[in-house]
Symmetry: C2
């Protein structure tokens, strides 16, 4: 079985798309009639979010390299929401989509093993996710269990390095003294990430241990692309958070590989904004999402000269 | 309503116990006949873990200041496990126990709001947790939503500062240059934590924004106790991870407040180790857990001269 990065690279090439569609089912972002179903209680909200995410996954399956369900929005709906998260994961995997679960889990030792098992070796007939986001603040003990569990299913992880939010610098941009003199925390984290994945670099030149690097910091994105050439990137912050195709170009290598760029609101609620709103309307939310995905894929491809 | 730290301090005083019992339901740690039930499939495993944790909570309710369910072990059992986690939270809260959910969540903006809502304002008739562990790598954007949601229910959070694992120093012990010269990352994180909680210091002198500081690093524990006197600590690493009462003494102030010390395996599988194994046997696992909790509470009280 190919490694995770090879599988993702194959999807990028086959679809000529570097877009990851973020499945963030905010109840207040649902179109009618799903919005009415959602107001009928937590069970209704979970069911409405499940239907919405599955329909979006269907619509973008041909033009998205991956989808990224955000665990937080499902957990906010209680146990019914957590069941819906798994239904969406299973549905998207059955469509052949690469599924990156954004759950930012972190722990140590046998507890990290339990999280890794939860998502890479889940019980019963649940499929494993293709990749999981994790937080590396705890060091190697907190990462190794995820790497080992992912490897068994040709899966991968993305470790937070430089996040897209405005306060990410409070800790991540502090610079170190001693042998690391002048190196920022996010850069040191990226180097640890490269080390964690070094044993499993695939044919595409990338390992199964990736980094989350925000599109809102294009200089750091380009710096890290050069510094850790075997680390695949998951790049959030496109669209609603302010970055465009020019800002993410630095995430890619000369072959147009090495990253997927996530957009959530810009795609799943595209039906509310122009040019999609007048073309598709609320009832055409899935078609609007597909059009927004294709447009974003084309914009990124143009920005990197493809 | 009192703030979180005041409520926890009241529980510590009422029970003369600084012990937090970690509810880490490993399937291979279950006693018979629950171990047989657990082998009957993921639904059986979730039900066995639910029963086990509720029985432990019952047994330790009078001698534990708090209980700490570990989300990872429940998530590893799929949706049925996640339902069992909520059943355990509701059961322990109904017993009057302070419930610290160890989930180490982290995200930014509206996604962090969704996680905060999931645990401090859950849907339907689920009760909020008293406190949640979170990861502060993303900075203030990733913490503020949790602080705000917790405050509405007199809840609290514990942010990872210096974790108990052997590789925690890979990032956390690196020292900074510039105006922070010589300060370690974990210390800088603790100072951020103090700032995040500064607006809400309660009558006990502690805020609702705590820090996770491992018992396995007693020097850093004492350093941080002095450096951030308003930050309540959650101290893992006691027992199975190697630290004893002497190592955690530095976590407490002169009144014996300011921290709870967690033990998981040392209590919930006490029935397998002496002196509890011969006294209680596998069938007496709940009584063994209560005895181990009382012994640990007494050992910590002795170590701090109470």
């Amino acid at each position: 079985m190919a490694n995770y990065a090879d599988r993702l690279s194959a999807a990028i090439r086959a679809k000529s798309s570097r877009v990851c569609v973020g499945l963030d089912p905010r109840v207040d972002g649902l179109p009618p009639p799903l919005s009415d179903m959602a107001r009928s209680g937590p069970g209704g909200a979970a069911e409405a979010c499940r239907i919405f995410c599955c329909e979006i996954a269907d619509a973008v399956a041909d033009c998205a390299a991956a989808v990224k369900p955000q665990a937080a929005f499902f957990e906010a709906l209680g146990p019914a929401g957590y069941q819906a998260l798994w239904d969406v994961i299973a549905y998207a995997r059955a469509l052949g989509l690469v599924v990156i679960l954004d759950a930012k889990r972190s722990d140590i030792g046998s507890t990290a093993e339990a999280y890794a098992e939860a998502y890479f070796a889940p019980p019963a007939d649940l499929p494993p996710v293709d990749a999981l986001t994790v937080n590396g603040y705890l060091g190697s003990d907190g990462i190794r269990p995820f790497v080992q569990a992912a490897e068994k299913v040709a899966g991968g992880i993305y470790v937070l390095a430089k996040t897209s939010n405005s306060s990410s610098g409070e800790l991540q941009d502090l610079t170190l003294e001693g042998p690391e003199r002048g190196v920022a925390v996010y850069r040191r984290m990226a180097e640890l990430i490269a080390k964690w994945g070094a044993a499993g670099v695939g044919e595409s030149g990338y390992s199964a241990v990736g980094a989350v690097v925000g599109a809102t910091y294009p200089e750091q994105l380009a710096e890290l692309r050069a510094a850790v050439p075997t680390v695949p990137f998951l790049v959030p912050g496109y669209g609603a958070q302010g970055a465009g195709a020019a800002e993410v170009a630095g995430a890619f290598d000369d072959d147009g590989l090495g990253a997927v760029v996530n957009s959530s609101r810009g795609i799943i609620v595209a039906y509310r904004t122009e040019p999609y709103a007048s073309r598709y309307g609320p009832a055409g939310y899935a078609a609007a999402a597909a059009a927004a995905t294709a447009d974003m894929a084309a914009a990124i491809n143009r920005a990197i000269g493809l």
